[in-house]
């Protein structure tokens, strides 16, 4: 594998990148978050591994994400849900720069790694409780600025939070920018609200 992402996921906008093997992997995670689609999103919602040996032929499945991923040199991606019992915590996503399937032994290792990741998160949550504070892992990329910008837009434009988030996302996507950059522009008031008001 060329790169890996460990993402904590709670819902459609609730996400933090807990681990990324390199800057490019964190950027790919963010590209997925920006467009709201991709193997990781699908593995989390479906609860099953999503194996994509060749992103080129999945351009219809995830038009926005596939385009961004291919442009950054990603050719294959394999996403595994982190879950224990009925509760799903996030995803482990493995990235390759050349196309090709996952041999069964690597698939096995990946499934085990995802289970280990889930168990490790559980262990962290337990020790946080034992020490009397809330579970708050250090993300390598936090989308908190997006959440703040979402709330700000909702208040300023008198729209719902979901609608505000969708507008941030649409603005980023249409200008080929990352959603975090757009969010920071909103927070610094560098973007005229009319641009986002549609």
């Amino acid at each position: 594998m060329d790169a890996a992402i460990l993402a904590l996921r709670g819902g459609s906008h609730a996400e933090e990148v807990l681990g990324a093997s390199e800057q490019g992997a964190a950027d790919l995670a963010e590209a997925q978050y920006t467009v709201g689609e991709g193997p990781g999103v699908e593995a989390f919602t479906s609860g099953s591994p999503v194996l994509v040996p060749d992103l080129n032929i999945e351009q219809v499945r995830w038009p926005g994400f596939a385009q961004a991923a291919l442009a950054s040199g990603v050719a294959a991606m394999f996403a595994f849900p982190l879950q224990l019992g009925a509760i799903r915590l996030g995803t482990l996503e493995l990235i390759r720069h050349s196309p090709g399937g996952l041999p069964s032994d690597e698939l096995r290792d990946a499934v085990l790694a995802a289970d280990l990741g889930a168990a490790a998160l559980l262990r962290q949550a337990r020790s946080a409780e034992a020490e009397g504070h809330e579970f708050a892992p250090e993300p390598v990329r936090s989308y908190q600025d997006v959440n703040v910008a979402t709330g700000m837009l909702a208040a300023q434009l008198h729209i719902g939070l979901d609608d505000a988030f969708t507008r941030l996302r649409a603005h980023a996507y249409s200008r080929n920018r990352s959603i975090l950059e757009v969010a920071r522009d909103v927070l610094k008031r560098r973007i005229v609200l009319d641009e986002l008001a549609e």
Partner: protein, 254 residues
């Protein structure tokens, strides 16, 4: 022959259905499986995927000693551990909260002078003990006994540790109600709580035209002044039932 001995489940080679088996482990835990199901599953992993002749889940008793809570295979010797023997891989594994293994018990007679002769007499040649860890301490062990010399491969040890974590979940559930579920939920709830705080900060900042840092300070001050839970307050702000002006006003008067 002794390099790759054939025990119950052919541990020297990779079972072709391992991925399926691991997926099945997870699948069998979806919903609210009872403890017996989880423990049975763990023992199946021990005797099938890890090829042990005997597998057992043992817990430390609060007053000392061990209790066998589940076992499979040739279990008589395992059962005897809880009454007769105060040493061995399981005892060490719990004491040190780490994996202890003996690939050839006959070589480890001086390490456990009472355990080894008893294990050999019962027909076992190798042993692996994986700690059941909770809050950094071992509450018991997942124990594997082999009737031939045996070296587990790394993936097998990882698998043993994963199922040990599942055993802890199952056992904690029985002893502490929904405690383990709470740990899992806590990770998701904490994430959603952070998202909600961010949005609430944005709503206050956007409504009042102040900086996010000031908005966050106002929210935290309001929570403190009114003795309310942070999550309740941020939920009220994002839900539109708490006026940002009230939140900030409270801070001014504080």
């Amino acid at each position: 022959m002794s390099r790759h001995p054939r025990a119950g489940g052919d541990p020297g080679t990779l079972p072709s259905d391992l991925t399926g088996a691991v997926a099945a482990i997870t699948a069998r835990l979806v919903g609210t499986p009872d403890n017996d199901t989880v423990l049975r599953l763990i023992l199946d992993v021990g005797t099938e995927l890890l090829g042990a002749s005997a597998a057992g889940v043992l817990l430390s008793r609060p007053g000392g000693g061990l209790e066998v809570v589940a076992s499979a295979g040739k279990t008589r010797f395992l059962e005897s551990l809880q009454t007769d023997i105060d040493q061995g891989p399981c005892v060490d594994s719990i004491a040190m909260a780490t994996v202890i293994s003996s690939t050839d018990l006959a070589e480890d007679g001086s390490r456990w002078p009472k355990f080894v002769p008893a294990a050999l007499a019962a027909g076992f040649r190798a042993a692996v003990a994986v700690p059941l860890r909770l809050d950094g301490q071992a509450m018991g062990g997942f124990n594997l006994l082999y009737d031939t010399e045996m070296t587990l491969e790394r993936w097998q040890l990882e698998l043993a540790q994963v199922v040990s974590d599942l055993a802890v979940l199952a056992l904690v559930q029985e002893r502490g109600g929904r405690r383990s579920d709470r740990f899992l939920e806590a990770t998701v709830t904490a994430l959603n709580g952070r998202v909600q705080l961010g949005q609430a900060v944005g709503v206050v900042a956007g409504t009042l035209g102040i900086e996010p840092a000031a908005a966050q300070a106002a929210i935290l001050a309001y929570v403190h002044e009114n003795g309310r839970a942070l999550r309740e307050v941020t939920g009220a702000i994002t839900g539109g039932t708490l006026d940002p002006a009230v939140v900030a006003g409270d801070q001014d008067s504080a």
